[in-house]
């Protein structure tokens, strides 16, 4: 364990909306080069924690470092994939245009995307299998295609860390397979992936690390360490009654 390098280190993170804590005193350490799932029941503060790490909402307490430096200084190393439903897909623009937005961060203010950026965006579309959709109006996309576009947009950032909010929410099976293959490819290239996830059945297939969250951090570690029946029960209460046996993952959690 001691040879692990931390991609993200967050200490004592507390986030409150209107004085109500949504995330309470959470420590989170993500080692470099892993795929980590953040799981927990509805309202556990998973998306909020992700946004807090990115500085998108103010932290009531705590601090975040990315590769040992402040997030602000390391912004170019982090790519965010928001929930697909966070935007209006009827916005008048094309698929390529949305993907190009991923290059805006490195461009900075005023400077416009050029040949290089168009090349990167087309390449990213290729990776998610959407190249022929480049000129498509975004309102014509299916849920899975929307998610692929968002992933392509993040890929153009050429980041080291990918923070994804529910990337498999409401997508078709083919897209889910395509996305997970891409994420594994990123991991093999040494990148770090953290995804808010809600399908407990696939956690051990898709990820190698897991953090269980229910306002507080219940557990965090490798699948073997942290994805156990006792810990899951602690995170979800007695409400779990599914889980088939898969790769040593718990079979039932009934009361």
């Amino acid at each position: 364990m001691s040879d692990l390098k931390w991609a993200i280190e967050a200490e004592d993170i507390t986030i409150a909306y209107n004085d109500k804590p949504v995330v309470w005193d959470v420590d989170l350490r993500v080692p470099e080069g892993v795929m980590m799932a953040i799981i927990g029941p509805n309202g556990a503060g998973k998306s909020t924690l992700l946004k807090g790490l990115l500085g998108l909402i103010p932290l009531t307490a705590g601090q975040v470092t990315v590769f040992g430096d402040t997030y602000k200084n390391q912004r170019n190393k982090v790519a965010y994939v928001p929930q697909r439903t966070a935007v209006d897909w009827d916005f008048p623009t094309t698929v390529l245009d949305v993907v190009l937005m991923g290059t805006y961060g490195k461009l900075g203010w005023i400077k416009r995307p050029g040949k290089n950026e168009f090349f990167k965006a087309t390449e990213a579309l290729d990776k998610v299998g959407m190249r022929e959709f480049a000129d498509r109006q975004i309102s014509q996309l299916s849920g899975g295609q929307q998610q692929r576009v968002f992933l392509a947009r993040a890929l153009t950032q050429e980041a080291e860390i990918y923070l994804m909010d529910e990337p498999f929410q409401g997508v078709d099976a083919a897209t889910e397979r395509a996305i997970i293959a891409l994420l594994k490819e990123l991991k093999n290239a040494g990148k770090t992936v953290v995804a808010v996830h809600h399908d407990l059945q696939t956690v051990s297939d898709y990820f190698d690390w897991v953090t269980l969250l229910n306002v507080r951090r219940i557990a965090s570690g490798t699948i073997k360490e942290a994805f156990t029946p006792e810990i899951l029960k602690k995170a979800y209460g007695g409400r779990l009654s599914f889980l088939e046996d898969r790769n040593g993952c718990p079979d039932t959690l009934e009361e």
Partner: protein, 372 residues
């Protein structure tokens, strides 16, 4: 028309309205896409007390002074709205509604108070309610032109940022862009363009100058650049048309006339736009329904003929209608099948499938099975 525009006043008015239409139309696209339509309405209504107070305090009716008053009041109203949203549980439309009515009520009260005074210098302040383009001076037009140029230069420079922060502000912030800064820039431009339009269109209807051209333009295009351009063109056309009409016909207030022109463009766009228009949607829906009923009829004929294999394949129209659940005339549907070469009529007037029709029916049947 060219004869009309040689008139000096009219040319001034038309040019002023054109600049105004271009600025507010182009900016309005962002207001609409950012769902800030009501914000424009609040700002323009809220500028009324600023106009009257500026007159009371400074004692002049110079348009520059009054419009600076309007801009300050509009900006204060915007800050109020933003702080209400941030600090209370009142939603954004609630906050905008409250601020709009409070400020406008205050403005009307001050206006009534000023007008009840015996001295005659206050006459004409009420022109700001509905606008009076005929009162535009060449320097007003120059101001409108300068503001228009500044707005468009800002849009060209910050095009990428405005687009990003209108589509996905949270992601934009993760890239390091400041949502606060783009918000302030866009809102400030909206305030300025509203204020320039007050003389021509008036506080009550000014926000339509932002929203109506943009909403119309959205109907015709799926590209942001085209939408902004088209919206500016719609704004300019309505501005020139409305201002000219109101100058030619006495006692016709400019604001409502311009807005009526805009409304006509909007209705046309709503109905006739090729993809998003209501009529095109209806036609599409009807066509789909008809296509579906054709397929159904083809299948019915197919089953009928399968059932009576070996005997005569052809059936009369009555038998065919009997096995169908749907009531109504199948004559047209049969004729369409015939024109596609899928069905034919025997000399006795009976209907049967052709060989192609038979293959087509099997294809549909298989397609249906694969889908389910």
């Amino acid at each position: 028309m060219s004869g009309i525009f040689s008139d000096f006043t009219l040319r001034t008015v038309a040019m002023g309205a054109a600049f105004l239409g271009i600025t507010s139309g182009a900016l309005g696209s962002f207001a609409v896409l950012r769902r800030q339509s009501l914000l424009g309405d609040s700002i323009s209504h809220a500028s009324l007390p600023g106009i009257v107070l500026a007159f009371i305090l400074i004692g002049t009716k110079s348009s520059l002074v009054l419009l600076i008053g309007a801009a300050i009041a509009g900006w204060i109203a915007t800050l109020f709205i933003l702080s209400i949203i941030r600090n209370t549980r009142i939603s954004s439309d609630g906050a905008q509604g409250v601020v709009l009515s409070v400020f406008f009520g205050l403005g009307l009260m001050l206006l009534t108070f000023v007008q009840s005074k015996p001295n005659a210098s206050q006459a004409g302040l009420d022109k700001y309610l509905f606008g009076q383009a005929a009162a535009l001076l060449p320097e007003d037009v120059r101001t409108a032109a300068i503001i228009g140029v500044i707005t468009i230069i800002c849009m060209i420079f910050f095009w990428k940022e405005f687009k990003l922060m209108s589509f996905d502000p949270v992601y934009g912030e993760s890239l390091g862009f400041s949502a606060r800064l783009t918000d302030i820039m866009i809102t400030a431009l909206i305030v300025i363009s509203i204020v320039t339009g007050l003389q021509t269109v008036g506080v009550i209807l000014m926000s339509s100058m932002l929203i109506a051209p943009a909403a119309s333009a959205r109907q015709w295009t799926n590209k942001l650049g085209a939408m902004v351009t088209l919206s500016a063109i719609f704004g300019a056309i309505s501005g020139v048309l409305g201002a000219t009409l109101s100058s030619l016909i006495s006692n016709l207030p400019t604001g409502p006339t311009i807005i009526l022109c805009l409304t006509s463009i909007f209705i046309i766009s709503l109905l006739f736009a090729p993809d998003r228009g209501l009529i095109s949607k209806l036609v599409k829906r009807y066509r789909n329904r008809f296509l579906f009923s054709l397929q159904k009829l083809l299948l019915d004929l197919y089953y009928l003929e399968e059932k009576h294999k070996g005997t005569s394949h052809a059936h009369d129209m009555k038998t065919i209608s009997l096995i169908r659940n749907r009531q109504g005339n199948i004559h047209i549907a049969l004729k369409t099948l015939q024109s596609r070469g899928w069905a034919e009529q025997t000399t006795a007037g009976l209907w049967k499938l052709t060989a192609e029709g038979h293959t087509e029916a099997i294809k549909i049947q298989n397609g249906g099975r694969n889908d389910s």
